[in-house]
């Protein structure tokens, strides 16, 4: 029995790992091509294998090959251990957070007694776990800045820390509203609750019941990914950032972490606000049309639709984040802090109060 659970979890972890890393790799291509389309360019399209260019998809592979074969330099004054450890920290915490994301409904397999939950780790405080992992991710950044013995690097690291702390608060506080509405921190339960319908018409998604929290969450999440317009830790054009002293795949890992965090935040936004794997009007026994009538679907199709819905929402969020990244210029540092502390945080607190009052009046308090 324990072996069975172990195998299932390993397979699930493998699937998530495979999917997420591939998507992160593809993100380099998406970034190139999307920015190119926005700016009336074509984007990298010259790398080819046997003359096939495939819209420049091979540039990601070329990049990986380049990263792996480059010389790995550790500066003379750097702390060798910490300098080496930092990128691993970064990637590790970014990857590990994906364990708590439910990416599909329960799958019934004929040779298994219990249905398989499509979530690597079913933690009843999954939200806390994810936030903990996201916060720990900043250790990689500050370590990189600190261990490089480079003024620019440590400046980038400190900026990252300050930014992460101020935005994590807004992020956490905005999510409290969602927790109050669904009265759970278990993400799989939360997604299940989002399957309900308001008046039998509108799906009870987080974006419908908590629109203000959604906007705050989105802004704070963008800041969390350390990408433009919140790329103060990097500032490619001025201080290069916390990874100045990194080369080869270690730099590549920081780069990967950026994309992983984007996907992570997209997953989280999907789970909290867009109903996770829920498809509107699709229940476990079939499609319930709002005018009555049920079109029954099998468990396999239900799960497939759920996973597809989840992936599509994540892709849409990633597209949106990328669009924002190529639309807005970078904030000035004081503007960033003002927005975080004087803008988002008070609105998030007010949102909690308003949510609480409305919940009390609706009589839905526990």
């Amino acid at each position: 029995m324990i072996i069975e659970v172990l195998i299932i979890k390993l397979v699930l972890a493998g699937i998530v790992f495979f999917g997420v890393l591939n998507f992160a790799g593809l993100h380099t291509w998406v970034e190139r091509k999307q920015s190119a389309l926005i700016q009336d360019r074509i984007g990298a399209n010259r790398a080819d294998i046997f003359g096939f260019r495939l819209l420049g998809l091979f540039h990601g592979i070329a990049d990986a090959v380049k990263m792996f074969t480059k010389e790995d330099i550790i500066p003379a004054g750097a702390n060798k251990t910490l300098h080496t450890l930092a990128p691993f920290f970064s990637v590790f915490f970014a990857l590990v957070a994906f364990a708590a994301i439910p990416f599909g409904p329960d799958l019934t397999l004929p040779w298994l007694e219990n249905p398989v939950e499509l979530q690597v780790a079913k933690i009843n405080a999954a939200l806390l776990y994810i936030f903990a992992m996201l916060s720990l991710g900043v250790y990689g950044v500050i370590l990189a800045g600190f261990a490089s013995r480079n003024n620019y690097a440590i400046l980038g690291g400190l900026r990252a820390t300050a930014q992460m702390i101020s935005y994590e608060i807004a992020l956490g506080v905005s999510v409290i509203g969602v927790i109050m509405v669904y009265q759970t921190m278990d993400l799989s339960v939360m997604v299940e609750k989002q399957g309900h319908m308001i008046f039998g018409l509108i799906p009870c998604w987080g974006i419908i019941v908590q629109p203000v929290a959604f906007i705050i969450f989105l802004t704070a999440a963008l800041a969390e990914t350390k990408r433009a317009p919140f790329d103060l830790p990097e500032c490619e054009s001025e201080i290069i950032g916390y990874f100045v002293e990194y080369s080869g795949m270690k730099f590549g890992m920081f780069f990967l972490t950026d994309f992983l965090e984007t996907i992570m935040v997209a997953c989280l936004a999907t789970t909290l606000f867009l109903g996770g794997w829920q498809v509107p009007f699709l229940m476990s026994d079939g499609i319930h049309f709002p005018w009555g009538g049920v079109l029954p679907v099998s468990n396999w199709i239900y799960v497939l639709l759920g996973v597809m819905s989840f992936s599509m929402k994540v892709v849409i969020f990633c597209w949106f984040f990328m669009q924002i990244r190529w639309t807005l210029p970078r904030f000035r540092y004081d503007q960033l802090m003002t927005l975080g502390w004087k803008g988002l945080f008070p609105i998030a607190v007010v949102n909690i109060v308003v949510t609480a009052v409305i919940l009390v009046f609706l009589g839905e308090q526990p």
């Binding site: 926005i38 190529w326 639309t327």
Partner: protein, 206 residues
Amino acid sequence: MTTKAKVKVVRRPELTFWEKLYIPQILCGLKITTTHFYRNLYLHIAHRLGRLKHLRASATIQYPEELRPLMSRFRSRHRLTVREDGTPRCVGCMLCETVCPAKCIAIVPGEHPDPHVEKYPVRFDIDLGVCVYCGYCVEVCPEDAIRMDTGILDLAAYSRESMRLDIHELMNPELRKPINDCSLTFPHQCKVTGEEMKGSWEEANS
């Protein structure tokens, strides 16, 4: 007497309430980028299907395959124009060599067999590594013998020696170094025919 200076006070435009809210302005920006994104995506797909070719999807010119259109006045690599019998129109008057501010032209004139034509170039060299593409040589030529209308822009070479054009390359813009075969019918000096190339250009640079 004091003159009262006219002062026009220009106030910094204050942000309106909607502009201070960030979000409407962000949506404005997103509208622009998203319009570009979907327009170009649509056009790229249409081009793949062979439609709407007259609308450009990107400003990019894919260089080696696609060349930027040149204006007719554009000064590109030189060429020597030829008469009907295949000999150069150049009469070896040395005006271009004289006017050249970069001193990149070297001409060795010789006696022309036709008594109506005074001279012809036994050698005509242009060092493109020195040339500044001012076009004075074209302007000054009384015989319309040198022009800069080949449209050749990719003038990269691995050595300084191969940046020097001799009369073969100047009369036939298609030709590229190394030249192994001399097809010019009139008497001239070139290494291909075994003659030692010696002229004023080498003397000037020695």
